[in-house]
Subunit: 240 residues, 2 copies
DNA sequence: CGGCGCCTTGAATAATATCAACGATAGTGG
DNA sequence: CCACTATCGTTGATATTATTCAAGGCGCCG
């Protein structure tokens, strides 16, 4: 509860200096048929730049768009009526949001670090999927990956201890995230990690401190992690 | 751990009287093109009958088939190396298994109550998806539903208390499951429920007892639940 | 330099797991 | 058909883990 309310609305100093802006408008829409592009999708979307803290899509509002992350980092958030928060996923460049959202968004999409994305009208995407087998196949595979990832997290949340979750998380971020001279750079804060792993801020912090004390990781800053003993981290994580 | 090992292999007395059997072999395979069927898929599969306790697909083995449940109930199971178990989903008639499984199965599919299913070679299904937009769309929507369901469960596992999980579970089963004169008939045992909700057998049992004591439900038998106060159950469940 | 978030750490509490015993039930074999 | 037995379910006592409450420190930005 504390976690949820604390992180519900990040009071970021959002000067108007960095508003949502259409940065590039694509060429004239073509009757999605003879495509040479990877997906034939690119020309349907508009590019946008957004500042940290911005909510790009809001839970409960009509799901009109699908988003493709270009740069930066996002969190996918869902709330319980009493305010408890769950971070369903973190999105990084190349990831999509909204593919499975039907009618209204069941999640909010929030910007963690200054970011940009391409936004596609859902109707047009649907049409493309119906008419272009290549795109259809591509997005079907994307859905498969998302589902697999979600199922992996179900196992984690239902059966893993706090250290195991943290270890798994660090290893996953090590693969996905940016590096800054050897250190993994976490774009999210402790509250986000906590709500992603189903823990509290305090437990996340304590567990990281413990891993540091055990010389498995180093923490140059709060949002940087250096792997000191990857094998042991993998052993702690519990899988394989 | 106790839970996992206890329920890892149900020592059901499996007399040879009820083996897997091909019950119906479909007509000659057609070059999936001019389909009149709902999905054009039916003729690709073979029907099978399986007894309780049987493992129909095993985690780690090549994912050659997709399954459509016809009757009975199944659990989708994933194990941690040390034996801890998670029930990722329960499958009832109309549900599919294996759509997102790539290369090798990342879950086992186990029969909870005597059941039957149709099995489709994955390669042929893929081919159908590539060639038939109707089928493609249908299965894309199925994947969307599965993903949404998984995400809902992520919220539950990461933020809900034991009572809330049990209440949500009962309400969900009330919609999906069979009835037996007014009572919801659970096909699974306590260990399955526990591993599905990320709890222990004992906590599941205690929580159900407590709900009974509070006159929210009745438990005519261990596997039957009568809703006595659906509104209160919904309130307890936490969502909406 | 000052203030505000964010992070860390400690101590007490609450929730759930674990250990253990008993009870109920259903399927088996006599 | 009944009694037996294995399995499953319930309940109690205790242990453990993570949460909650509280305070202080660090770092960043203005």
């Amino acid at each position: 509860m504390t976690t949820a309310l604390a992180s519900k609305q990040l009071p970021l100093r959002m000067k108007a200096s960095f508003p949502i802006a259409v940065v590039a408008k694509a060429k004239a829409p073509s009757p999605a048929s003879a495509d040479k592009q990877a997906t034939g999708l690119d020309e349907l979307g508009t590019a946008h730049v957004v500042p940290r803290g911005k909510t790009v899509a809001e839970e409960g509002t009509p799901a009109e768009y699908v988003f493709k992350i270009v740069s930066g980092a996002f969190r996918v958030v869902r709330l319980l009526p009493d305010g408890r928060r769950s971070v369903i996923d973190f999105l990084l460049p190349g990831d999509y949001f909204g593919l499975a959202e039907n009618g209204t968004y069941s999640h909010s999409l929030e910007v963690i670090s200054d970011a940009s994305f391409i936004r596609y009208p859902k109707g047009q995407l649907r049409h493309l999927l119906d008419s272009d087998p290549r795109a259809s196949r591509r997005f079907f595979n994307l859905m498969c990956e998302q589902l697999s990832a979600a199922q992996g997290r179900l196992l984690m949340l239902s059966r893993k201890s706090a250290v195991e979750r943290i270890a798994s998380f660090i290893l996953a971020m090590a693969d996905r995230s940016q590096r800054k001279n050897g250190a993994i750079k976490l774009p999210m804060n402790r509250a986000d990690v906590a709500d992603y792993l189903g823990l509290t801020i305090e437990t996340v912090s304590r567990t990281l401190s413990q891993l540091r004390a055990d010389k498995v990781i180093e923490l140059p800053t709060a949002c940087q992690i250096v792997l000191r003993d990857r094998d042991r981290l993998a052993a702690i994580s519990g899988d394989n």
